[in-house]
Amino acid sequence: MSKILEGVKYSPTHEWVKIEGNVAIIGVSDFAQEEMGDITYVDLPEEGDKLVAGEEFGALESVKASSDLIAPVSGTVIEVNTALEDEPEKVNEDAFAAWIIKVELSDTSDLDDLLDAAAYKALIEK
């Protein structure tokens, strides 16, 4: 059973988004890491990269497959969790602790399109 944290938002492409003021902290959901299995590589964007909601900003690689990371919001990358370069398995260990990027939001209306915990739960149980 995948863990679903309350109080954060989710994208239908399985990223989680935690809002702190004008900054979105983004990772992948526990469901996503479970589906992928052992994660061996995280392809990260760079600080200063501009993200467009709905577009790919990096990728997770498991032994078997590669899965694009899709920006749940638009904005500018202000911090990257570079520790994941050496320890990609952190995503498997705790998908909520292993944040991937922090983004300064350019358009807060993007948040309206995200799912709350209950709606995300319904999505993955479908």
Partner: protein, 362 residues
């Protein structure tokens, strides 16, 4: 379709996906754990989906030698030989194992699950010119691959057959009785480690599987079967061999013997002489990004010269490596080649295809 072991996979909580028309276990715990169990201890695979075709009759040897690239004349009963069946133009029908049985003029051909129908049609068609009979017995046999450095000890601990097992060298087999039925003990595998492949009746194979599970053998899915065979430099039909990819292109020329007549011989000889477009190589890149099948291979100046066929971040070697088909002028060892992975280009070079030092019993 389901193999005889399907219910066991479900009971063990395997992740199951369709493969070659069968619902097969991809992994039980994790690909990495299962992979390491085989490299360091012992793991087992359900390979009951593989096909078994028997060929018998006065001209069985002559016939098998005509459709098979390797040389079976002079090879004794109890031995196993790897090779391919080819189309006249050199492309590959399948890669397979040929067992020379202990009964005179009897052979067992073990073929890939995805190709059973196609292969059997091919075999049947060509057998008509020879005095022999062919049978597709694929659904009458179950098969387990027990693989890893502790495979021999575990086999003897659980099933006995100590004398038989110890006497088998790599690529030999013997027949034993289990519940009064024939059980083939074959010292073969697809992992780069020592191990056995056991062929028996579906009922016996289920019973043997349960005994191995009870004795602590790690069940392993197709996920790590692919990572293991890849590291050991072994091709997978569909990726490194196909109707478009001949054994010579795939670097498997050592399994083609030209002192005899066989289907595809002239085309393969021509390719061997240099008339060949692409060759299969190993490439290692200097990064942890993973080259996947279908990604383009480029020269330093951005010219596309090939395509990745299988790639992983190798579990046993901690390197990002792949097999790729590249234009032959770029196939020499140490040739600098890059892989385009998503938007980035990762430099690397041509390396030997056997990435991992195999540990077969001599």
């Amino acid at each position: 379709m389901k193999t005889c072991l399907y219910d066991e996979h479900v009971a063990l909580g395997a992740k199951i996906s369709p493969f070659a028309g069968f619902d097969m276990p991809i992994q039980y715990s994790s690909i990495v754990e299962e992979h390491n169990a085989v490299r360091n201890n012992v793991g087992m695979f359900d390979v009951s989906h593989m096909g078994e075709v028997f060929v018998e009759g006065p001209q069985a040897e002559e016939f098998v030698n005509y459709i098979f690239t390797n040389e079976i004349r002079g090879f004794e009963a109890g031995k196993v030989l790897y090779g391919m069946m080819c189309y006249p133009a050199g492309g590959t029908v399948d890669d397979l194992l040929v067992y020379r049985e202990f009964q005179k003029d009897h052979f067992l051909l073990v073929i890939n699950a995805a190709n059973i129908d196609k292969d059997f049609d091919w075999i049947l068609l060509h057998s008509r010119a020879f005095d022999c009979k062919v049978f597709n017995a694929s659904d009458k046999w179950g098969q387990i691959a027990l693989q890893g450095p502790s495979a021999e000890d575990k086999l003897i601990e659980v099933l006995g057959y100590g004398e038989e097992a110890k006497s088998l060298g790599f690529y030999t087999f013997c027949d034993v009785l289990y519940n009064g039925n024939r059980l083939i003990l074959s010292r073969t595998g697809y992992t780069g480690e020592d191990g056995f492949e056991l062929y028996g009746t579906p009922e016996d194979i289920v019973e043997i599987w349960k005994k191995f599970i009870a004795a602590g053998v790690t069940p392993c899915g197709l996920g790590c079967r692919d990572t293991l065979r890849f590291e050991a430099g072994l091709p997978l039909y569909g990726d490194e061999l196909s109707p478009e990819i001949s054994p010579v292109m795939a670097g498997l020329g050592m399994f083609c013997k030209y002192e005899k007549d066989f289907i595809g011989k002239e085309a393969l000889l021509e390719q061997k002489a240099g008339n060949i477009g692409r060759k299969l190589v190993g490439i290692e890149i200097e990064d942890k990004a993973i080259p996947r099948a279908g990604y383009p291979v480029e020269t330093a100046d951005g010219k596309e010269v090939g395509i990745v066929t299988t790639g992983y971040h190798s579990i046993s070697l901690d390197k990002s490596i792949c097999f790729a088909l590249v234009d032959k002028e770029y196939s020499a060892l140490d040739t600098p080649l890059s892989i385009r992975i998503r938007k980035k280009v990762f430099p690397g070079k041509v390396v030997k295809k056997r990435f991992y030092q195999t540990n077969y019993k001599k």
